[in-house]
Subunit: 217 residues, 2 copies
Amino acid sequence: MAEPFAPSKLEAILSCSPLVASALMRHGAVRALPPRTRLAAQGDVLGMLWLIVEGRLALEAVSSNGRVSRLGVHGPGDWIGNYARPALCVADVVALERVTLVAFPSGRLPEIVSGEPQVGAALAGAFARQLEATLARLDARSTLTSKGRIFAELLRRAGDAGDISPPPVVSELALAAQTTRETASRAMGELERRGIILRRGERLSIVSPRLLAEMVV
Amino acid sequence: MAEPFAPSKLEAILSCSPLVASALMRHGAVRALPPRTRLAAQGDVLGMLWLIVEGRLALEAVSSNGRVSRLGVHGPGDWIGNYARPALCVADVVALERVTLVAFPSGRLPEIVSGEPQVGAALAGAFARQLEATLARLDARSTLTSKGRIFAELLRRAGDAGDISPPPVVSELALAAQTTRETASRAMGELERRGIILRRGERLSIVSPRLLAEMVV
DNA sequence: CGCGTCTTTGAGAGGATTCAACGTGTGTGG
DNA sequence: CCACACACGTTGAATCCTCTCAAAGACGCG
């Protein structure tokens, strides 16, 4: 945490060559942020691109009625901000925990890339992955019901293991699934009554992933 | 249209070097599709990446209740499909008009990129742009009301000119804004009654962009 | 003219949020 | 040590937004 950030870590995070890592380190500024820092606000003209190295950042948009919805959560290896030129920021960017990142002004990376094409290759892979994730999220928002999104989120967090520990905080789960505490609570209550999940202290087990998957609608 | 596709067009579309264009042409297969072709279906394992050269493609997801929602529309210079490896396709991919594209198997491009890093640079720019667009769409879906999305879509299509011609087809507008014909019709009726827009034959004029912008909620 | 597509409008239903109330556990300050 | 605030979870009832269903009119086209 406290030790200075080493370029070799970049290699691991981006799975790129030492060449690329050192080029990035040479042009970017390393920053550390305490939890809850707000890097940018909805409506700002954002002229930065950040590479997350440690910790997670969330994109949160607040709608006119005051509700906040989470557009995404990004972790090490993800890029946040504007690549080519400054642009309006659609959402707040907030640190969920202690975060280390490398900062570049918008437009700098394209320059670097033309000098060191290897960097572009690494970027393309990262952007493609993030695009896919964002598209999947858009799909969920567009085609699933509120309860369906809760169920999908549970399955996603459980992974193959089939359980989640520590058990998810209901209100946080609701935020991630773009719905309310109450709806999330009702959805989980239903799952528990039907014996599809089991909540025991520090662990939430998914008894029947099959049934749960069928309820993702 | 009918003439064979020339690499020089790629340079213009991607604004890349001849080197990159010829590398892409060498590794990809040019295809032409008639309108309404469905390139891939929701749930397919899709092992391709396409570069659109002419025409537009839509990503359409159908939800369990049968409604289709449009996740995005892509045109020349956009990439659709899976970059690194085959993956489940979240939505149908359909041609809105006659489309020409260059097809690559998933995973091929990363290979090319490692041999010809210039290609990676071009890809990074394109992916960054698409990521930004997708994020903006996700934001709209998450924070705006149905009517708000209609209003926003109208403003977007009007651009600075302040009018749209030919006037938008209501049902198509509804699809783009992820709502129903009826809701879109009511939203536009309201705008017209309040004198915010004017529909005259082959032209729809936005009388008061300011008022309209304030209604985007 | 008949047909299909598109639009408009009304009425009804349904899903999700909002409001409200209550119970719990945790940490803080008196 | 206790009172208290506070965050979280649960549950019920009311409200609201949006979709669905239904009907009717406008328009272009063969």
